[in-house]
Symmetry: C2
Subunit: 120 residues, 2 copies
């Protein structure tokens, strides 16, 4: 295992949360999401995004409609379903809890390194 792989692991699941967030703002299609996530420094590629959107759709959290484009193939514009909105709220709560748990662990390490000099 290497750093890159570990970073991939860390992003898992969180990506899903971020995508739901972006869709919650209004109708978007996949390339919009890729742009937004890239600008937020969340690396993501097509091979990850499309299957993920299909999963979220099949779970009933997203819906989409086809919209013709004047400069290429039609686009799938996604929206959150009512169920999806509830799910997003739950995901956001989970995220904050998780971030808080990590903060707790980091704080404990810092506290212990002040009083315990046995660690290099």
């Amino acid at each position: 295992m290497n750093i890159e792989n570990a970073q991939v692991q860390m992003r898992k699941g969180i990506l899903e949360f971020c995508i739901l967030h972006i869709i919650s703002r209004g109708e978007v299609y996949a390339s919009d999401m890729l742009d937004e996530l890239t600008s937020a420094k969340m690396m993501v590629v097509e091979g990850t995004l499309y299957p993920l959107l299909t999963r979220l759709k099949n779970s009933g959290w997203l819906d989409y409609k086809w919209v013709e484009s004047s400069s290429g193939p039609p686009r799938k514009y996604y929206v959150l379903t009512d169920e999806g909105k509830i799910f997003l709220d739950a995901m956001q709560a989970t995220w904050f809890e998780l971030a808080d748990s990590v903060k707790t662990v980091i704080r404990r390490t810092e506290e212990l390194s002040k009083t315990d000099t046995s660690n290099s």
Copy 2:
């Protein structure tokens, strides 16, 4: 997919980071880690922790020594290797970047919901 599954996905990778953090404080064995992670509200079970420790060991980031116990079987006490310390630092940087990316996405959603009333 359900909420529980999504929460599991979100924890992936981050668990690894937290375990490295705990081991960085000094010698600990698996049950110690389980206690600490549970008290930080990071749910984790044996079937997850032991294979993860083996992976980290095989990657060269951990080392361990057997220590006899007066009340049961011997314990594996883990320590971070020098490589493991470097890896932990990289993971911590990744964590902060990731948390920051998520914050960016959430902030954008909040900003847009103020000015754009088209979302229910």
